[in-house]
Amino acid sequence: MDIIVEGIKQAFVLLFTLDPEVLGITWLSLKISGTATFLSMFIGVSVGTVVALTKFPGRRFVVSLINTGMGLPPVVVGLFVTIFLWRNGPLGFLEILYTPTAIIIAQTVIATPIVMGISLAAIQALPANLRLQILALGATRLQMVWILVKEARLPLLAAVMAGFGGVISEVGASIMVGGNIKGYSRVLTTATVMETGKGNFDIAMALGIILMLLSFIINSILTHVQQRERPR
C-alpha cells in the first residue's frame, strides 16, 4: 500500500514542482504519439474509406488483413522497424535509428491499422441509400465522400482515440527503436520501465499516473469534439 500512496504523492510533486526532466519526457511523449496518431489518421481514414466504398476482387482478404493489423504486437513492429533502420540495413542510409523520428515511424505503423479498421467499419455501417441520396442531390463523388466522413464523425473520432491510446501506452517498439536515451528519445512508457528496473517503484508509479492523466486530457478534448452538437 505504501508504494501506491507514495507513487501518487510523487506524481503530484513531480507535476507541481514542474520537474524539467519529467515535463520534457511528457512533452516528448505527446509530440511523438500525437504526430504518429495524425499520420495514421490521414492514412487510416482515407484508405479505410476507400476500402469501405469500393468493391474489388480479394476485398475480404484485404479487410481481414486490416483487421489483423489492428492487433499488431508493438514489439514485432519494433523489431522489424529496427532491422530496417539498422545502419547496415535496407534503410540505414537515413540514419534515424534511436531517434524520436524512428519512434514516430514505428507508432504510425502500429496505429494506422487500428484507425483504418474502425474507419472501414464506420463508413460501411452508414446506410447504403445515403450514398445514392447524396449523389442524387447533385454532389460530386468527392463531396459525397466528405459528407459520409462527416456523417461517421462519431466512430471516426473513436478510431482516432483508439489509435492514440494504442501508441501512447505502447512500450515495446519505443524502447527498441528509440533506445530510451535520456533527454532525447525517452518517453513516459520507456521511462516507467527503466525506473521499475532500477527499483524506483514510486517514480515509476508517478510516471504511470502522469501518463494516464495525459491520456485522459487528450481523450477529453477528442470526446468534446466528438460529442458536441452538430452545427447545422
Partner: protein
C-alpha cells in the same frame, strides 16, 4: 457544417506541420556527431552513465546514444556494426569478440563484485560460505529456488560459469527458474519468491530499500565483475564512428572519470558501487 470542416482541416494541417518541425531539427543536428554506446543494464540502472555522459558530451561535442541492454546483446550489436563502442562485463564473450576482429582496443575500466543473495531464512544454509561454487552446490542439493537472468547478460554468463565449475547442470530443474529480465526485475522477483539469485553489488545496493533479501556469500575471486570498454572495429564496419568511439573509450579510462567512479554512489549508498581499474592488469584485481 462547412465551418467545422474547413477549420478542422487547417488546424489539423498546422498541428501536423508543427509536430514535424519540432521533431525534425533535433535529428539533423545530432546526425554527424552520434556515438552509439551499447552497454549493460547495470551501468545505466546505477545512474553512473547519467553522471558521465554529460561530461563527455560537453567536453567533446559528441552526442552519446546509450542503448542499455544485456552484455550479450550489446556485443551482438557491436558484431553487426550497429554500435560504435561497448561497455560490457562478460569476459569470455569479450575475448571472443576481439579475437574474431570485431572489437579492438579492449581496455579495463572498473570492477565491482557479484554477490549471492537470498532470503534471510537461508533454507540452503549458504550464509558465510567463502566459495561461490560451494554455495551453488548447496543450493542445488537443497533444491532451493534459484532465479536466473537467463538472458545472456554478463551476470547470466558469470552464473553459468559458476554452475559449470560446480559441475551442475541446472537447466530444466524445477528449482531453477529463468526470468529473461534485467537485473533489477530479477532481484525483485527473487525477493517476491524468496529465492536465491546472483546479482551485481551495484544493482543490489540501489534496490536494497525495497527488498527482503540479504547478502549471503561474497568476496570469492570467482565473483569478480569486471567492466571493459571495447571499440568496434571500423575495418569490419566502415559506417562505425571510430573517432567518436575512441574518444569515449579514452574518456572512460581518463584520470578524471576514474576519479568520479571511485566516489560514485558513496553519498547515496554509503559505499562506492564500482572500483576504478584503468591501466591495471586483470589478474591484479581483487587482491
Amino acid at each position: 457544417m462547412k465551418r467545422f470542416g474547413k477549420i478542422g482541416i487547417v488546424a489539423a494541417a498546422l498541428l501536423f506541420i508543427a509536430c514535424v518541425c519540432y521533431v525534425a531539427p533535433e535529428n539533423v543536428m545530432a546526425k554527424q556527431k552520434n556515438v552509439i554506446l551499447a552497454t549493460t543494464t547495470s551501468t545505466q540502472d546505477t545512474g553512473l552513465l547519467d553522471v558521465l555522459n554529460p561530461i563527455f558530451e560537453k567536453k567533446t561535442g559528441y552526442f552519446v546514444k546509450t542503448i542499455s541492454v544485456g552484455s550479450g546483446q550489446a556485443m551482438a550489436m557491436g558484431k553487426k556494426g550497429e554500435a560504435d563502442v561497448l561497455l560490457v562485463h562478460s569476459q569470455d564473450a569479450e575475448k571472443k569478440l576481439v579475437a574474431e576482429g570485431y572489437g579492438i582496443n579492449r581496455r579495463l575500466v572498473m570492477h565491482n563484485d557479484y554477490i549471492i543473495i537470498g532470503p534471510p531464512g537461508d533454507p540452503a544454509g549458504i550464509k558465510g560460505l567463502k566459495s561461490g561454487t560451494e554455495a551453488f552446490k548447496k543450493i542445488a542439493s537443497a533444491q532451493s529456488i534459484f532465479m536466473s537472468r537467463g538472458d545472456n547478460s554478463g551476470t547470466n554468463a558469470k552464473e553459468k560459469a559458476i554452475w559449470k565449475k560446480a559441475e551442475i547442470n541446472p537447466e530444466g530443474q524445477k528449482w531453477y527458474q529463468q526470468t529473461g529480465l534485467g537485473m533489477g526485475q530479477t532481484i525483485a522477483i527473487a525477493a517476491e519468491k524468496k529465492a536465491y539469485t546472483l546479482a551485481d553489488r551495484g544493482t543490489y545496493l540501489a534496490l536494497k530499500k525495497n527488498l527482503g533479501l540479504d547478502i549471503l556469500v561474497e568476496g570469492d575471486a570467482i565473483l569478480l565483475n569486471i567492466y571493459h570498454v571495447i571499440e568496434v572495429n571500423p575495418d569490419k564496419w566502415p559506417k562505425v564512428n571510430a573517432a567518436g568511439a575512441k574518444a569515449f573509450a579514452d574518456f572512460m579510462v581518463s584520470k578524471q572519470v576514474q576519479r568520479i567512479i571511485k566516489t560514485f554512489g558513496v553519498d547515496k549508498y554509503g559505499s562506492p558501487l564500482f572500483f576504478p581499474d584503468a591501466g591495471k592488469k586483470e589478474d591484479q584485481l581483487g587482491k
